[in-house]
Symmetry: C2
Subunit: 582 residues, 2 copies
Amino acid sequence: MSVIEKTAAVVTPSEARQSADAAAQIERREGAKVMTSWQTGRAARDARIAAGAGLAHGKIVEAKDATRLLEAVIRPGDRVCLEGDNQKQADLLSRALLAVDLSRVKDLHMVQSGVVLPEHLDLFDRGVAKRLDYAYSGPQSARIARMLFGGKIELGAVHTYLELFARYFIDLTPHVALIAAVSADREGNLYTGPNTEDTPTVVEATAFKDGVVIAQVNEIVEKVPRVDIPADRVQFIVESDKPFFVEPLFTRDPAAITEGQILTAMLAIKGIYAPYGVQRLNHGIGFSTAAIELLLPTFGERLGLKGLIATHFALNPHPALIPAIESGWVRQIHSFGSEVGMDEYIRARSDVYFTGPDGSLRSNRAFCQTAGLYACDMFIGSTLQIDLQGNSSTVTTSRIAGFGGAPNMGADARGRRHPSEPWLKAGAEADPDSPAPLRRGRKLVVQIGETFGDKNVPLFVEKLEAIELAEKLKLELAPVMIYGDDVTHIVTEEGLANLLLCRTAQEREQAIRGVAGYTDVGRRRDRNMVACLRERGVIRRPEDLGINPLDADRSLLAARSIKDLVRWSGGLYSPPSKFRNW
Amino acid sequence: MSVIEKTAAVVTPSEARQSADAAAQIERREGAKVMTSWQTGRAARDARIAAGAGLAHGKIVEAKDATRLLEAVIRPGDRVCLEGDNQKQADLLSRALLAVDLSRVKDLHMVQSGVVLPEHLDLFDRGVAKRLDYAYSGPQSARIARMLFGGKIELGAVHTYLELFARYFIDLTPHVALIAAVSADREGNLYTGPNTEDTPTVVEATAFKDGVVIAQVNEIVEKVPRVDIPADRVQFIVESDKPFFVEPLFTRDPAAITEGQILTAMLAIKGIYAPYGVQRLNHGIGFSTAAIELLLPTFGERLGLKGLIATHFALNPHPALIPAIESGWVRQIHSFGSEVGMDEYIRARSDVYFTGPDGSLRSNRAFCQTAGLYACDMFIGSTLQIDLQGNSSTVTTSRIAGFGGAPNMGADARGRRHPSEPWLKAGAEADPDSPAPLRRGRKLVVQIGETFGDKNVPLFVEKLEAIELAEKLKLELAPVMIYGDDVTHIVTEEGLANLLLCRTAQEREQAIRGVAGYTDVGRRRDRNMVACLRERGVIRRPEDLGINPLDADRSLLAARSIKDLVRWSGGLYSPPSKFRNW
């Protein structure tokens, strides 16, 4: 009630009338200056552009003048979006920003989805930036943790992508956006190429709220292959000396898939995809889901599931999905971003992917996240830690990787109003007693992994390190990736736990312990209760699903190497050199 | 397990290897034809464009040829998005589509957010269209109900906007989009004007998945004021004989606001906005929320709340908000669409609204719905019926109005990971026992209205007519607008019920009955339990909040007429003639 305490007694009608009329009078007197006094943002924007114009020929600024341009356009304390995506990086502009004169540019509030380049954090070390709101920081996760503990970064929040994009339009609107594109024409029309990613969203929020948009481009051309961003939303173009940095984040070498992962993939296909009839879905980027993609044309084909499952995806162009696509499993894929080496394959498979008039992929993270939220019936992915309530996190006390899209896709959209078979079946399992027309469905949210992950670190823990981190950093929310009450299934090599069928917190805990294998969490199970959960079908072992663990053989993979994927693609997929061993 | 039953026994590794290699061989043999056989959509799109080209000069087709164009481009059974927004209508194209030769165009699957014009339903009467997936049908709600009962329409689902947009990218991608814009240049660049609304979303889903985009425009110009849609996403332009239809849906005449609505507005401001400190929010379009907007500069000012509440909105340009804006309450507004008559005011208040380089509003329904979902702490709106569990619906057995954005904004986003004071406070009230760092917040979802609404129809009912409708139409989901477990507060002239503080279904029911006034639901309350809920602060009467119902006087409204709003705007707001009585 803090706000209320400050307030006077309730107003009387006469007082109110006076204040209303007074305000109206002031307004009428000020009528004349309104046009100027209510367009301060517009005026400031024009001043920023004018300040930068001296360095530009038309909209084009030479790379060597990039830092001076940023010094001219950016003001201390500005909210700046330095793109900063999951894959594509405006690396030239990040280096240019790092070099600014601190007397002119400092204490910036960075609002960018990806904190990926060392420069992104150097900005905070140098004092160019002060506050951070972000979504993903994979490669910088260890350093960002150290800097948060060291107080080098004032943390706003760790968001899921769509959540950060939402705030761009409400309370985190950028003053300046520093973006990356493949090419620009002299008017400033931009071609992003396949990695459109966040760019249209960042530009829309900035350009239409009196902000300034500066783009680095790989080249300036007479005519762009397609217009991803119209020229009138872009104020300055910097031609880069080399192409922007983009990382192949979604390439999983089939050669690295273990038989344990193959077993979990078999359990998922036969124990979840098949009985729920999951057709619209998103896959995480782990090896277990890559194994699922590679088992569809073999194990899935034999189960007669072609056309019945995994037909529509919200997914990046995973190379591991090539065999399933070539075998006719996949009807349509909408993508958040692209993947290095997949360009020619995508171009030749336009029936499957979203492509532009130029033939190359058009990705869009905002729309694909929206699709993952509202139009998919399942999210399946991996995590680092799962606790006894089923809460999971990729955050540890030494690594703050961020969440990316998992929180958005790893929960049921309560605004959803269209039914589908998998969604209704999951809802009925969770809530058998509600009257059908009032019973909501549930999105399938599946966590898949081996009980002991990388370096034999147990997947299951009594307490998430994320909670310890929250206490240390005094965060109001522990950085949980997916909350236990949103998870519907957990799959490990020991079996499949259907949490939708658990009726008490205790059953839930034992269902989790019951698939936690030889981890401490697994060994502390209540054997009788786990046995009874298995009888009820809450826990299902491989044999319960007619799967012989000995059949979990690498030869089940439709492709066993990157080279196999190239072959499947008819030579259209050209993997980055780091994945080539031939 | 239906799918599983069809399946053979699990494959052996050797079988799998054979199938994998076989598939790979087939692929290699077919390598040559890949380029064609996987681009059927692209080829079909080119054929559609070629078929229409004969009627076009460049991309421009005369209005008289519109029907022939649609006959040339559209195929039987196509998924067609006929825009079809909340406000803006591609009316010329809807008339043109209605006139097609049924031997060439029929059985279309309409996927459009708004079913607003009579022609939208005439299409089904004539057999041009067969199946419908939509989100909102305000003015056609009675007829659409009759046609559903009559089997004239095969219903997909009634969505919330963002949900339908999501499906555009997964399983409801349009083959053809028929859209509306203000102007086009000869290349086909489009200017939507302030009512951008759904257009960028519809065009993105269609143009980048081998679809055809046809735009009706009010005029063809040398240069568009700004590029809302780039030319390479648009195949045909039809110049309309008159401007597209757009309805002023968000204009509420202050003269029509009742003292009962003013009282509910006072209760909401002092009982919810103030104690939670709600700054980021969305308002529904009812008169009670219009009253809240008009009380901010008077009642709100006296409570000392300026700057502490209602600073950032996801909201259309409501004329009723003008006095609050002029009084310095509102920092920023992002809009779904625009509002007739507000153009000059918005242009002159660019500090508040999102505007383009041309100075006019840039709205965007997809991004504003995303903002309402993830970046707002409160949704407050009205409904037609509320049942004993708190489920609400605007659907009755005789009217199926659709949900628009309410389901999306009227629920907590479970993917949300950023804290805010109101969200955390609501979460703590709902779940006081969870450990803080693992406790999630809750969005405030408020239903506000008088116990007896239009024509003295009671707001509270024992059973929603939506359930009856679901039974009659054999729908798998009753058309519930907002589910009871998502509602946090109900406000009527009798008082305020905080459902977050209810611990049992029974308490919840009595809290609802306790503010249901003299409706049957209200009269059947358990007086002792209601008294005890009031002692606990679950129910709060006006006097509990220091509000004297006699002060709920129309003179509290900052503007009491449309003319007052014009005066507040300094003459910048020019209301449509139907709202002018001077």
